[in-house]
Symmetry: C2
Subunit: 411 residues, 2 copies
Amino acid sequence: MDGTSRLHVDGDRLWSRLMAMAEVGATAAGGSNRQALSDDDADGRALFVEWATSIGCTLATDAVGNLFARREGTDPDRSPVVLGSHLDTQPTGGRFDGVYGVLGGLEVLSTLAEHGVVTAAPLEVAVWTNEEGSRFPLSMMGSAVWAEASDLDEVRALADVDGVSVGAELDRLGWSGDLPLGRELAAYLELHIEQGPVLEASGSEVGVVVGVQGFRWLTVTLTGDPAHAGPTPMDLRHDPARPLAEVLDGLYRIAAERGPWARATPAQFRSEPVSPNTVPATIRFSVDIRHPEADVLDGMDAELRALVAEAAERHGCGWEIAVDNDSPPVAFDPACVEAVAAATAATGRSHERIVSGAGHDACYVASRGPAAMVFVPCLDGLSHNEAESIEPGQATVGAEVLLHAALSLAG
Amino acid sequence: MDGTSRLHVDGDRLWSRLMAMAEVGATAAGGSNRQALSDDDADGRALFVEWATSIGCTLATDAVGNLFARREGTDPDRSPVVLGSHLDTQPTGGRFDGVYGVLGGLEVLSTLAEHGVVTAAPLEVAVWTNEEGSRFPLSMMGSAVWAEASDLDEVRALADVDGVSVGAELDRLGWSGDLPLGRELAAYLELHIEQGPVLEASGSEVGVVVGVQGFRWLTVTLTGDPAHAGPTPMDLRHDPARPLAEVLDGLYRIAAERGPWARATPAQFRSEPVSPNTVPATIRFSVDIRHPEADVLDGMDAELRALVAEAAERHGCGWEIAVDNDSPPVAFDPACVEAVAAATAATGRSHERIVSGAGHDACYVASRGPAAMVFVPCLDGLSHNEAESIEPGQATVGAEVLLHAALSLAG
């Protein structure tokens, strides 16, 4: 092995940067709120740019605001090895989801700069735009546009609840740049907290991620007849809360029948009118369904539709289901997966191969080039939660694996 | 009988006023949106004031903006007979709820003015403030303050969803006047559409209302642990939508077990955070329960609390129930009820005695003096709905009954 095998990341530097980033949009409960394309998101990026500039990186964005910090290699003919994730968060987000992958990638470049190591291929750190999809309703938005899976103009037209569009925010922040979408990449590695309890339960220090569960976001609308809550007898109502009870009950059954990898999450409940003494005219909620196998996911979708239709019709209500997002299961590149596994072994860390339950920017990148992911365990599997937590030592382990996997891929 | 027994209201005038009022805050679907203390509510009152002034009434408000149009009688020592209801509507309200009682009362005074009939007691038409309780969360607010069942300062501090207070709106509109609260009234009669299907089903032209169902408004909050919708296994979640399904199911059972007069209406569903891929931290909804007997209502309340506690605890969730409104069952004054029954018989209309399913300003007025109500059927029992409808002939019948009941009470 050459001299780079003895390189180590600086765990203290990585941790202090994670804590500094968490202060941007910090919430009272210890999390972060840096929703995509907000001023807080811009402040987070400014901090990243300051750190990347300090080690000599050049920075550039593409048309949807994906930001790349580049450190040149020795071979001008080689495509870059890209390490990255996102800096935007959920409204009540934690300190590590996304951030850890960006700052872990930056830690790899910082370590190389510190030790004067230059790789053959260029190395880049990617900050993808609006991975969370909570402010603007399209998760992994930046990587989807980059991979040409979503149309730039349609994405620019997406609006938040106040009617502000992605395009208006990109223009306001000056994030729309010239870097081509869908460039050729030698490899893409994304370091992330697991966001689930599997590694913690098994005691593995590292998860070598072989693929990602498919998921689909649906919006279910149940419509009834608004009527006065007092005089209208129960049996003469068309109350959408009656099918709601049955749909929720059936939804959990649909997931339970498909084993431990199936997921069903109803959320975003809203009813109209906002009046305590009127039978609702509409009840609307989202359903997130997931499974690692495409045909099982299709089966869950079909069964949910039948369930909604039957429950609504049984109670004289109307119904509608819209598909807001559809992300098929992903299998990662075998060579990238092996690079991660070998780096984990080289650093002497225990590991296992797992499937990601959450979607990541790596899913879209994988549709255009070789990609894989590295997971570290997180406390109680909690994520999308202000209490999301990892130990500094765990953060260091993951970054070390990322360093050695990147070195093996960048030569 | 004296000459007044041959008096008739002017059904065309009443109907044209109803239609003119419906244009104020008219909705695209044919209803009205004049929420309490809004500019539209003020425009509606201005129209009423114009009509009342044209027949020589004097107008005055009390501290909570209840508006009274007064026509003096011949005997200065007698307390007024008051006819009234409200002009504010639900956000997607109909054309008749409340409005019919105000304009029916005005039609009585207009008929007397037209025929030069002066009663012994003064007659007044009351327009109570914020009966609906949809913008500011206290239904029958104006009559509750008038009856000293609610505290004026607390009511002034109530805020709408934008944080605007009742007090600020009363001051802005100049509605806070000097008329004493809780004055002595000789009698109070409220004409209203039934808002239910009972009269339509039985074919009765008039409902002689003997009392009002008690009701209670509760807000149920279920709390879980926000977690990422992908990686978090179903059996490790604390998902508040699980107890929600059970609570809704049980709520309908609680009502069904208590016979045809029991009502249960879940509404105003809201969950946080607004994110499709996060298990909700909280789900909140209102429950409106009603019954004509106080002990049965208490039993429904107690059973609902047990249901919420058990369902939440079964799924590792937290729960809380707040009481937002509590209106006990009301029995109307026998003499007022008989005056209505006699007037109905005198006009030759078919009628039956019924219990109101909805709360009305008459409930609070009844706590301070003699009161009763007159109902007319409405199409399909629909109310709190833009499609709320009555026929012009039905409107005339109710106003005619109100006229003769008022004459018998005012001497």
